[in-house]
Symmetry: C2
Protein backbone atom coordinates (compact mmCIF):
# COMPACT_ATOMS: atom_id res chain seq x y z
CA UNK A 1 0.00 0.00 0.00
CA UNK A 2 1.27 3.48 -0.75
CA UNK A 3 0.77 6.46 1.54
CA UNK A 4 -2.50 7.49 -0.15
CA UNK A 5 -3.99 4.04 0.40
CA UNK A 6 -2.80 3.92 3.99
CA UNK A 7 -4.62 7.20 4.53
CA UNK A 8 -7.79 5.81 2.92
CA UNK A 9 -7.50 7.49 -0.50
CA UNK A 10 -7.21 5.91 -3.96
CA UNK A 11 -3.71 4.83 -5.00
CA UNK A 12 -3.21 7.68 -7.49
CA UNK A 13 -4.31 10.54 -5.25
CA UNK A 14 -2.35 13.76 -5.47
CA UNK A 15 -1.55 14.23 -1.77
CA UNK A 16 -0.21 17.60 -0.68
CA UNK A 17 0.98 19.28 2.50
CA UNK A 18 1.26 23.07 2.12
CA UNK A 19 3.93 23.89 4.64
CA UNK A 20 5.18 27.22 6.00
CA UNK A 21 8.79 27.09 7.17
CA UNK A 22 10.54 29.50 9.56
CA UNK A 23 7.81 30.37 12.07
CA UNK A 24 9.42 31.99 15.10
CA UNK A 25 12.08 33.73 12.98
CA UNK A 26 10.41 37.15 13.15
CA UNK A 27 7.19 38.92 14.08
CA UNK A 28 6.55 39.41 10.36
CA UNK A 29 6.99 35.70 9.68
CA UNK A 30 4.74 34.76 12.60
CA UNK A 31 1.90 37.10 11.65
CA UNK A 32 1.97 36.05 8.00
CA UNK A 33 2.08 32.36 8.95
CA UNK A 34 -0.87 32.74 11.31
CA UNK A 35 -2.93 34.57 8.65
CA UNK A 36 -1.98 32.00 5.99
CA UNK A 37 -3.16 29.19 8.29
CA UNK A 38 -6.37 30.95 9.29
CA UNK A 39 -7.40 32.44 5.94
CA UNK A 40 -5.19 30.80 3.36
CA UNK A 41 -4.36 27.36 2.02
CA UNK A 42 -1.38 26.66 4.29
CA UNK A 43 -2.16 23.69 6.52
CA UNK A 44 1.11 22.99 8.31
CA UNK A 45 4.10 24.90 9.64
CA UNK A 46 7.22 24.44 11.68
CA UNK A 47 8.79 26.57 14.36
CA UNK A 48 12.40 27.62 15.03
CA UNK A 49 13.07 27.23 18.73
CA UNK A 50 16.36 29.24 18.83
CA UNK A 51 14.84 32.47 17.46
CA UNK A 52 13.74 35.61 19.29
CA UNK A 53 10.12 35.37 18.19
CA UNK A 54 9.73 31.71 19.23
CA UNK A 55 7.69 32.66 22.28
CA UNK A 56 5.02 34.48 20.25
CA UNK A 57 4.60 31.59 17.84
CA UNK A 58 4.81 28.94 20.57
CA UNK A 59 1.95 30.68 22.36
CA UNK A 60 -0.09 30.53 19.15
CA UNK A 61 0.82 26.85 18.70
CA UNK A 62 -0.24 25.98 22.23
CA UNK A 63 -3.56 27.79 21.83
CA UNK A 64 -4.25 26.41 18.34
CA UNK A 65 -3.42 22.69 18.37
CA UNK A 66 -5.76 22.18 15.39
CA UNK A 67 -2.92 23.23 13.06
CA UNK A 68 0.02 20.97 12.29
CA UNK A 69 3.09 22.33 14.06
CA UNK A 70 6.51 20.81 13.54
CA UNK A 71 9.93 21.63 14.95
CA UNK A 72 12.08 23.37 12.33
CA UNK A 73 15.40 21.93 13.55
CA UNK A 74 17.95 24.69 13.16
CA UNK A 75 21.71 24.35 12.71
CA UNK A 76 22.54 27.24 10.37
CA UNK A 77 21.71 30.96 10.21
CA UNK A 78 21.88 32.36 6.69
CA UNK A 79 21.34 36.06 7.49
CA UNK A 80 23.86 38.88 7.51
CA UNK A 81 22.74 41.09 10.42
CA UNK A 82 20.21 38.96 12.26
CA UNK A 83 21.85 36.12 14.11
CA UNK A 84 20.86 33.17 16.23
CA UNK A 85 22.64 30.26 17.79
CA UNK A 86 22.06 27.10 19.84
CA UNK A 87 19.49 26.77 22.59
CA UNK A 88 22.17 24.92 24.58
CA UNK A 89 25.09 26.76 26.19
CA UNK A 90 27.72 27.45 23.56
CA UNK A 91 30.35 25.68 25.67
CA UNK A 92 28.40 22.43 25.28
CA UNK A 93 28.07 22.63 21.50
CA UNK A 94 31.03 24.75 20.46
CA UNK A 95 31.49 22.87 17.19
CA UNK A 96 28.18 24.30 15.95
CA UNK A 97 29.04 27.99 16.25
CA UNK A 98 31.28 30.68 14.78
CA UNK A 99 33.58 32.92 16.80
CA UNK A 100 30.63 35.04 17.90
CA UNK A 101 28.62 32.08 19.15
CA UNK A 102 26.12 32.04 16.29
CA UNK A 103 25.31 29.21 13.90
CA UNK A 104 27.39 29.08 10.74
CA UNK A 105 25.95 30.81 7.68
CA UNK A 106 26.51 27.95 5.24
CA UNK A 107 25.87 24.23 5.18
CA UNK A 108 29.53 23.78 4.14
CA UNK A 109 30.89 25.52 7.26
CA UNK A 110 28.42 23.60 9.37
CA UNK A 111 29.47 20.29 7.83
CA UNK A 112 33.18 21.06 8.21
CA UNK A 113 32.94 21.93 11.90
CA UNK A 114 29.99 20.20 13.53
CA UNK A 115 30.51 17.15 15.72
CA UNK A 116 27.68 14.62 15.32
CA UNK A 117 27.39 14.17 19.10
CA UNK A 118 26.83 17.91 19.51
CA UNK A 119 24.29 18.02 16.67
CA UNK A 120 22.28 15.34 18.39
CA UNK A 121 22.51 17.07 21.76
CA UNK A 122 21.44 20.45 20.37
CA UNK A 123 18.55 19.10 18.30
CA UNK A 124 17.30 17.08 21.27
CA UNK A 125 17.37 20.30 23.31
CA UNK A 126 15.42 22.13 20.59
CA UNK A 127 12.70 19.46 20.65
CA UNK A 128 12.65 19.44 24.44
CA UNK A 129 12.32 23.23 24.51
CA UNK A 130 9.20 23.02 22.33
CA UNK A 131 7.75 20.22 24.47
CA UNK A 132 8.46 22.17 27.65
CA UNK A 133 6.49 25.09 26.23
CA UNK A 134 3.50 22.82 25.78
CA UNK A 135 3.72 22.39 22.02
CA UNK A 136 2.56 18.99 20.76
CA UNK A 137 4.69 18.66 17.65
CA UNK A 138 3.36 16.81 14.62
CA UNK A 139 6.64 16.42 12.71
CA UNK A 140 10.30 17.35 12.39
CA UNK A 141 11.95 19.16 9.52
CA UNK A 142 15.24 20.88 8.93
CA UNK A 143 16.10 24.54 8.39
CA UNK A 144 18.02 24.88 5.11
CA UNK A 145 18.02 21.05 5.04
CA UNK A 146 21.35 21.33 6.89
CA UNK A 147 20.68 17.94 8.39
CA UNK A 148 21.14 16.42 4.92
CA UNK A 149 24.78 17.32 4.32
CA UNK A 150 26.10 13.81 5.03
CA UNK A 151 24.52 10.39 5.47
CA UNK A 152 25.82 10.23 9.05
CA UNK A 153 24.13 13.51 9.97
CA UNK A 154 20.90 12.51 8.24
CA UNK A 155 20.86 9.41 10.46
CA UNK A 156 20.69 11.66 13.55
CA UNK A 157 17.58 13.29 12.11
CA UNK A 158 15.94 9.95 11.41
CA UNK A 159 16.83 8.69 14.90
CA UNK A 160 15.22 11.76 16.49
CA UNK A 161 12.05 11.01 14.55
CA UNK A 162 12.04 7.48 15.99
CA UNK A 163 12.85 8.64 19.52
CA UNK A 164 9.99 11.14 19.55
CA UNK A 165 7.67 9.07 17.35
CA UNK A 166 7.41 11.90 14.85
CA UNK A 167 7.52 11.79 11.05
CA UNK A 168 10.52 13.57 9.57
CA UNK A 169 10.38 15.46 6.29
CA UNK A 170 12.80 13.94 3.80
CA UNK A 171 12.75 14.38 0.03
CA UNK A 172 15.50 12.26 -1.49
CA UNK A 173 16.17 14.57 -4.42
CA UNK A 174 16.40 17.61 -2.16
CA UNK A 175 18.79 15.88 0.23
CA UNK A 176 20.99 14.75 -2.62
CA UNK A 177 21.04 18.21 -4.16
CA UNK A 178 22.56 19.70 -1.02
CA UNK A 179 24.80 16.68 -0.22
CA UNK A 180 28.36 17.47 0.80
CA UNK A 181 29.58 13.90 1.00
CA UNK A 182 30.40 11.10 -1.42
CA UNK A 183 28.98 8.39 0.79
CA UNK A 184 25.66 6.72 0.11
CA UNK A 185 22.51 7.67 1.96
CA UNK A 186 20.41 4.92 3.42
CA UNK A 187 16.67 5.28 2.83
CA UNK A 188 15.57 1.86 4.04
CA UNK A 189 12.43 1.97 6.19
CA UNK A 190 12.20 5.74 5.65
CA UNK A 191 9.08 7.59 4.61
CA UNK A 192 10.13 9.79 1.70
CA UNK A 193 8.19 12.67 0.23
CA UNK A 194 7.91 11.89 -3.48
CA UNK A 195 8.04 15.47 -4.68
CA UNK A 196 9.20 18.73 -3.22
CA UNK A 197 7.50 21.83 -4.61
CA UNK A 198 9.44 25.00 -3.89
CA UNK A 199 10.24 28.33 -5.53
CA UNK A 200 13.44 28.86 -7.51
CA UNK A 201 15.54 31.99 -7.63
CA UNK A 202 15.52 32.11 -11.44
CA UNK A 203 11.73 32.39 -11.42
CA UNK A 204 11.83 35.00 -8.66
CA UNK A 205 14.33 37.09 -10.62
CA UNK A 206 12.16 36.98 -13.73
CA UNK A 207 9.13 38.08 -11.68
CA UNK A 208 7.53 34.70 -12.32
CA UNK A 209 7.46 33.18 -8.86
CA UNK A 210 3.68 33.19 -8.63
CA UNK A 211 3.37 31.75 -12.14
CA UNK A 212 5.81 29.00 -11.20
CA UNK A 213 3.63 28.15 -8.19
CA UNK A 214 0.54 27.97 -10.41
CA UNK A 215 2.41 25.73 -12.85
CA UNK A 216 3.59 23.52 -10.00
CA UNK A 217 0.01 22.99 -8.81
CA UNK A 218 -1.21 22.40 -12.38
CA UNK A 219 1.41 19.74 -13.03
CA UNK A 220 1.40 18.11 -9.61
CA UNK A 221 1.84 14.33 -9.70
CA UNK A 222 0.09 11.65 -7.75
CA UNK A 223 1.99 10.64 -4.64
CA UNK A 224 3.20 12.41 -1.52
CA UNK A 225 3.92 16.08 -2.36
CA UNK A 226 5.14 18.79 -0.01
CA UNK A 227 5.02 22.48 -0.93
CA UNK A 228 7.51 24.50 1.11
CA UNK A 229 6.92 28.22 1.42
CA UNK A 230 8.09 31.03 3.70
CA UNK A 231 5.26 33.48 4.27
CA UNK A 232 6.15 36.89 5.66
CA UNK A 233 5.50 40.54 4.88
CA UNK A 234 7.88 42.67 2.84
CA UNK A 235 8.19 45.08 5.76
CA UNK A 236 11.06 46.81 7.47
CA UNK A 237 11.79 43.99 9.92
CA UNK A 238 11.91 41.35 7.19
CA UNK A 239 13.93 43.61 4.89
CA UNK A 240 16.40 44.02 7.74
CA UNK A 241 16.67 40.28 8.28
CA UNK A 242 17.03 39.36 4.61
CA UNK A 243 19.29 42.27 3.59
CA UNK A 244 21.62 41.35 0.69
CA UNK A 245 19.85 37.98 0.45
CA UNK A 246 17.08 38.23 -2.17
CA UNK A 247 16.97 34.43 -2.37
CA UNK A 248 14.06 33.68 0.00
CA UNK A 249 14.18 37.40 0.87
CA UNK A 250 11.36 39.62 2.07
CA UNK A 251 9.90 40.38 -1.38
CA UNK A 252 9.85 36.66 -2.11
CA UNK A 253 8.15 35.91 1.20
CA UNK A 254 5.45 38.50 0.50
CA UNK A 255 4.70 36.71 -2.79
CA UNK A 256 4.48 33.42 -0.87
CA UNK A 257 1.99 34.99 1.52
CA UNK A 258 -0.04 36.61 -1.25
CA UNK A 259 -0.30 33.49 -3.39
CA UNK A 260 -1.10 31.03 -0.62
CA UNK A 261 -3.85 33.28 0.75
CA UNK A 262 -5.35 33.93 -2.72
CA UNK A 263 -8.47 32.57 -4.33
CA UNK A 264 -6.34 31.57 -7.35
CA UNK A 265 -4.49 29.13 -5.12
CA UNK A 266 -7.72 27.67 -3.73
CA UNK A 267 -9.12 27.30 -7.25
CA UNK A 268 -5.96 25.55 -8.46
CA UNK A 269 -6.19 23.07 -5.59
CA UNK A 270 -9.80 22.27 -6.50
CA UNK A 271 -9.32 22.18 -10.28
CA UNK A 272 -6.38 19.82 -9.97
CA UNK A 273 -8.18 17.58 -7.48
CA UNK A 274 -5.41 17.91 -4.95
CA UNK A 275 -6.00 16.21 -1.62
CA UNK A 276 -4.57 18.18 1.27
CA UNK A 277 -3.16 16.07 4.07
CA UNK A 278 -1.24 16.95 7.22
CA UNK A 279 1.75 15.58 9.09
CA UNK A 280 -0.67 14.69 11.87
CA UNK A 281 -2.50 12.35 9.45
CA UNK A 282 0.86 10.73 8.69
CA UNK A 283 1.87 10.61 12.33
CA UNK A 284 -1.22 8.47 12.92
CA UNK A 285 -0.07 5.72 10.55
CA UNK A 286 3.73 5.55 10.92
CA UNK B 1 35.06 71.74 41.18
CA UNK B 2 31.81 70.50 39.77
CA UNK B 3 31.54 68.37 36.63
CA UNK B 4 31.17 71.41 34.34
CA UNK B 5 34.39 72.92 35.68
CA UNK B 6 36.22 69.61 35.43
CA UNK B 7 35.21 69.51 31.77
CA UNK B 8 36.44 73.08 31.24
CA UNK B 9 33.06 74.88 31.26
CA UNK B 10 31.79 77.60 33.62
CA UNK B 11 30.34 76.38 36.91
CA UNK B 12 26.72 77.05 35.96
CA UNK B 13 26.73 75.38 32.56
CA UNK B 14 23.67 73.35 31.57
CA UNK B 15 25.37 70.10 30.65
CA UNK B 16 23.31 67.51 28.78
CA UNK B 17 23.74 64.01 27.38
CA UNK B 18 20.93 63.06 24.98
CA UNK B 19 20.86 59.31 25.34
CA UNK B 20 19.04 56.62 23.35
CA UNK B 21 18.34 53.49 25.38
CA UNK B 22 17.54 50.00 24.08
CA UNK B 23 19.73 49.73 20.96
CA UNK B 24 19.92 46.08 19.90
CA UNK B 25 16.34 45.41 21.01
CA UNK B 26 14.92 45.42 17.48
CA UNK B 27 15.72 46.35 13.90
CA UNK B 28 13.31 49.28 14.26
CA UNK B 29 15.10 50.51 17.38
CA UNK B 30 18.52 50.15 15.73
CA UNK B 31 17.60 52.00 12.56
CA UNK B 32 15.93 54.85 14.44
CA UNK B 33 18.88 55.12 16.84
CA UNK B 34 21.38 55.25 13.99
CA UNK B 35 19.38 57.95 12.18
CA UNK B 36 18.96 59.94 15.40
CA UNK B 37 22.73 59.85 15.96
CA UNK B 38 23.58 60.73 12.37
CA UNK B 39 20.93 63.35 11.68
CA UNK B 40 19.42 64.21 15.02
CA UNK B 41 20.44 65.58 18.38
CA UNK B 42 21.07 62.25 20.09
CA UNK B 43 24.75 61.97 21.03
CA UNK B 44 24.96 58.78 23.07
CA UNK B 45 23.30 55.36 23.20
CA UNK B 46 23.58 52.02 24.91
CA UNK B 47 23.23 48.51 23.59
CA UNK B 48 21.45 45.42 24.93
CA UNK B 49 23.76 42.45 24.52
CA UNK B 50 21.15 39.71 25.16
CA UNK B 51 18.82 40.77 22.31
CA UNK B 52 18.42 39.32 18.83
CA UNK B 53 19.42 42.52 17.03
CA UNK B 54 22.59 43.04 19.08
CA UNK B 55 24.78 41.92 16.18
CA UNK B 56 23.44 44.58 13.80
CA UNK B 57 23.96 47.37 16.33
CA UNK B 58 27.32 46.02 17.51
CA UNK B 59 28.54 46.12 13.90
CA UNK B 60 27.46 49.77 13.68
CA UNK B 61 29.18 50.51 17.02
CA UNK B 62 32.42 48.92 15.87
CA UNK B 63 32.39 50.85 12.62
CA UNK B 64 31.37 54.16 14.21
CA UNK B 65 33.44 54.63 17.37
CA UNK B 66 32.88 58.42 17.14
CA UNK B 67 29.52 57.93 18.90
CA UNK B 68 29.26 57.20 22.61
CA UNK B 69 28.20 53.58 23.06
CA UNK B 70 27.42 52.16 26.47
CA UNK B 71 26.32 48.72 27.63
CA UNK B 72 22.64 48.72 28.57
CA UNK B 73 22.94 46.11 31.33
CA UNK B 74 19.82 43.98 31.12
CA UNK B 75 18.17 41.96 33.87
CA UNK B 76 14.46 42.28 33.05
CA UNK B 77 12.29 41.91 29.95
CA UNK B 78 9.09 43.91 30.11
CA UNK B 79 7.42 42.67 26.90
CA UNK B 80 4.55 40.25 26.49
CA UNK B 81 5.44 38.30 23.33
CA UNK B 82 9.06 39.22 22.68
CA UNK B 83 11.38 37.62 25.18
CA UNK B 84 15.04 37.57 26.00
CA UNK B 85 17.19 36.10 28.73
CA UNK B 86 20.76 35.90 29.99
CA UNK B 87 23.80 35.69 27.76
CA UNK B 88 25.13 33.05 30.16
CA UNK B 89 23.74 29.51 30.23
CA UNK B 90 20.50 29.49 32.21
CA UNK B 91 21.87 26.79 34.50
CA UNK B 92 24.56 29.22 35.69
CA UNK B 93 22.16 32.08 36.48
CA UNK B 94 18.89 30.30 37.17
CA UNK B 95 17.84 32.85 39.79
CA UNK B 96 17.52 35.48 37.05
CA UNK B 97 14.95 33.68 34.88
CA UNK B 98 11.35 32.56 34.84
CA UNK B 99 10.21 29.01 34.11
CA UNK B 100 10.77 29.55 30.38
CA UNK B 101 14.34 30.75 30.82
CA UNK B 102 13.59 34.44 30.14
CA UNK B 103 14.27 37.45 32.35
CA UNK B 104 11.45 38.39 34.72
CA UNK B 105 9.01 41.02 33.51
CA UNK B 106 9.08 43.19 36.61
CA UNK B 107 11.71 44.66 38.89
CA UNK B 108 9.81 43.17 41.84
CA UNK B 109 10.08 39.58 40.52
CA UNK B 110 13.70 40.21 39.68
CA UNK B 111 14.43 41.54 43.16
CA UNK B 112 12.61 38.67 44.86
CA UNK B 113 14.47 35.96 42.97
CA UNK B 114 17.88 37.17 41.83
CA UNK B 115 21.03 36.14 43.68
CA UNK B 116 23.62 38.93 43.79
CA UNK B 117 26.41 36.55 42.78
CA UNK B 118 24.48 35.59 39.64
CA UNK B 119 23.69 39.21 38.81
CA UNK B 120 27.37 40.03 38.91
CA UNK B 121 28.29 36.99 36.81
CA UNK B 122 25.66 37.75 34.15
CA UNK B 123 26.45 41.47 33.90
CA UNK B 124 30.16 40.72 33.64
CA UNK B 125 29.35 38.34 30.80
CA UNK B 126 27.26 41.03 29.06
CA UNK B 127 30.17 43.48 29.21
CA UNK B 128 32.62 40.82 28.06
CA UNK B 129 30.35 39.94 25.13
CA UNK B 130 30.41 43.56 23.96
CA UNK B 131 34.20 43.75 24.37
CA UNK B 132 34.65 40.49 22.49
CA UNK B 133 32.70 41.97 19.57
CA UNK B 134 35.14 44.84 19.43
CA UNK B 135 32.94 47.49 21.01
CA UNK B 136 34.84 50.09 23.07
CA UNK B 137 32.18 51.01 25.62
CA UNK B 138 32.01 54.53 26.98
CA UNK B 139 29.68 53.88 29.93
CA UNK B 140 27.33 51.49 31.69
CA UNK B 141 23.64 51.96 32.31
CA UNK B 142 20.76 49.78 33.37
CA UNK B 143 17.67 48.60 31.48
CA UNK B 144 14.56 49.61 33.46
CA UNK B 145 17.00 50.71 36.19
CA UNK B 146 16.60 47.16 37.55
CA UNK B 147 20.02 47.47 39.08
CA UNK B 148 18.61 50.05 41.49
CA UNK B 149 16.10 47.90 43.36
CA UNK B 150 18.27 47.50 46.47
CA UNK B 151 21.46 49.15 47.75
CA UNK B 152 23.27 45.80 47.61
CA UNK B 153 22.43 45.33 43.93
CA UNK B 154 23.35 48.93 43.10
CA UNK B 155 26.78 48.23 44.62
CA UNK B 156 27.36 45.53 41.98
CA UNK B 157 26.71 48.09 39.28
CA UNK B 158 29.11 50.60 40.83
CA UNK B 159 31.76 47.87 41.23
CA UNK B 160 31.46 46.94 37.56
CA UNK B 161 32.06 50.56 36.65
CA UNK B 162 35.26 50.51 38.71
CA UNK B 163 36.42 47.17 37.33
CA UNK B 164 36.02 48.29 33.73
CA UNK B 165 36.95 51.93 34.39
CA UNK B 166 33.62 53.11 32.96
CA UNK B 167 31.24 55.77 34.27
CA UNK B 168 27.88 54.39 35.36
CA UNK B 169 24.65 56.31 34.92
CA UNK B 170 23.03 56.94 38.31
CA UNK B 171 20.38 59.53 39.08
CA UNK B 172 19.63 59.44 42.79
CA UNK B 173 15.99 60.46 42.46
CA UNK B 174 15.35 57.84 39.76
CA UNK B 175 17.00 55.07 41.79
CA UNK B 176 14.99 56.00 44.86
CA UNK B 177 11.74 56.11 42.90
CA UNK B 178 12.11 52.47 41.86
CA UNK B 179 13.65 51.30 45.17
CA UNK B 180 12.29 48.05 46.58
CA UNK B 181 14.21 48.12 49.83
CA UNK B 182 14.16 50.08 53.07
CA UNK B 183 17.91 50.16 53.41
CA UNK B 184 19.96 53.24 52.70
CA UNK B 185 21.84 53.70 49.46
CA UNK B 186 25.45 54.79 49.65
CA UNK B 187 26.41 57.50 47.18
CA UNK B 188 29.85 58.30 48.54
CA UNK B 189 32.45 58.77 45.83
CA UNK B 190 29.78 58.27 43.18
CA UNK B 191 29.23 60.50 40.17
CA UNK B 192 25.53 61.30 40.16
CA UNK B 193 23.53 62.81 37.35
CA UNK B 194 21.81 65.85 38.85
CA UNK B 195 18.67 65.64 36.75
CA UNK B 196 17.00 62.93 34.74
CA UNK B 197 14.83 64.15 31.86
CA UNK B 198 12.41 61.52 30.61
CA UNK B 199 8.86 61.27 29.27
CA UNK B 200 5.93 60.47 31.54
CA UNK B 201 2.92 58.32 30.69
CA UNK B 202 0.44 61.02 31.75
CA UNK B 203 1.88 63.39 29.12
CA UNK B 204 1.90 60.64 26.49
CA UNK B 205 -1.76 59.82 27.19
CA UNK B 206 -2.74 63.48 26.84
CA UNK B 207 -0.90 63.66 23.52
CA UNK B 208 1.56 66.08 25.08
CA UNK B 209 4.78 64.10 25.07
CA UNK B 210 6.50 66.37 22.57
CA UNK B 211 5.36 69.45 24.46
CA UNK B 212 6.71 67.97 27.69
CA UNK B 213 10.08 67.49 25.98
CA UNK B 214 10.09 71.11 24.83
CA UNK B 215 9.21 72.25 28.34
CA UNK B 216 11.96 70.06 29.79
CA UNK B 217 14.57 71.69 27.54
CA UNK B 218 13.21 75.18 28.26
CA UNK B 219 13.41 74.66 32.01
CA UNK B 220 16.65 72.70 32.12
CA UNK B 221 18.84 73.52 35.12
CA UNK B 222 22.56 74.01 35.30
CA UNK B 223 24.39 70.84 36.30
CA UNK B 224 24.70 67.34 34.88
CA UNK B 225 21.49 66.47 32.98
CA UNK B 226 20.71 63.25 31.14
CA UNK B 227 17.78 62.97 28.72
CA UNK B 228 16.71 59.35 28.26
CA UNK B 229 14.75 58.49 25.14
CA UNK B 230 13.89 55.33 23.20
CA UNK B 231 13.85 56.08 19.49
CA UNK B 232 12.14 53.56 17.21
CA UNK B 233 9.56 53.55 14.45
CA UNK B 234 5.89 52.88 15.06
CA UNK B 235 6.05 49.93 12.65
CA UNK B 236 4.80 46.38 12.72
CA UNK B 237 7.87 44.95 14.47
CA UNK B 238 7.79 47.54 17.24
CA UNK B 239 4.01 47.26 17.61
CA UNK B 240 4.52 43.50 18.02
CA UNK B 241 7.18 43.98 20.69
CA UNK B 242 5.28 46.60 22.68
CA UNK B 243 1.81 45.07 22.36
CA UNK B 244 -0.42 45.89 25.37
CA UNK B 245 2.34 48.14 26.72
CA UNK B 246 1.69 51.73 25.58
CA UNK B 247 4.09 52.97 28.27
CA UNK B 248 7.29 53.37 26.23
CA UNK B 249 5.39 51.65 23.39
CA UNK B 250 5.90 52.00 19.66
CA UNK B 251 3.84 55.20 19.24
CA UNK B 252 5.80 56.80 22.08
CA UNK B 253 9.11 55.75 20.53
CA UNK B 254 8.13 57.27 17.18
CA UNK B 255 7.51 60.59 18.97
CA UNK B 256 10.95 60.26 20.58
CA UNK B 257 12.50 59.74 17.17
CA UNK B 258 10.55 62.57 15.56
CA UNK B 259 11.33 65.12 18.25
CA UNK B 260 15.02 64.36 18.65
CA UNK B 261 15.58 64.54 14.90
CA UNK B 262 13.59 67.78 14.53
CA UNK B 263 14.77 71.33 14.00
CA UNK B 264 12.60 72.37 16.97
CA UNK B 265 14.83 70.28 19.21
CA UNK B 266 18.02 71.77 17.76
CA UNK B 267 16.62 75.27 18.20
CA UNK B 268 15.65 74.58 21.82
CA UNK B 269 19.19 73.37 22.56
CA UNK B 270 20.64 76.56 21.10
CA UNK B 271 18.10 78.96 22.61
CA UNK B 272 18.59 77.51 26.08
CA UNK B 273 22.39 77.53 25.76
CA UNK B 274 22.59 73.84 26.53
CA UNK B 275 26.08 72.33 26.37
CA UNK B 276 26.01 68.79 24.98
CA UNK B 277 28.56 66.47 26.54
CA UNK B 278 29.18 62.75 26.20
CA UNK B 279 30.00 59.86 28.50
CA UNK B 280 33.35 59.69 26.75
CA UNK B 281 34.11 63.22 27.99
CA UNK B 282 33.25 62.06 31.50
CA UNK B 283 35.22 58.83 31.12
CA UNK B 284 38.29 60.99 30.52
CA UNK B 285 38.05 62.70 33.91
CA UNK B 286 36.80 60.05 36.34
Amino acid sequence: MNLAQKLGYPENTKLLIIHADDAGLAHSENQATIKALQNGSVNSYSIMTPCAWFFEMATFAKNNPQYDCGIHLTLTCEWENYKFGPVLPISEVSSLVDKNGYFYKTRADFKNNAKPSEIKKELTAQIEKALQFGIQPTHLDSHMCSIGVTPEILEIYKELGKTYNLPVFINRQFVETIRLSDEEYNYENTLLADNLLIGYFADFEKGELQKSYERALDSIKSGFNVFLLHPAFDDSEMQGITINHPNFGSAWRQIDFDFFTSNECKTKLEENKIQLITWRDIQGII
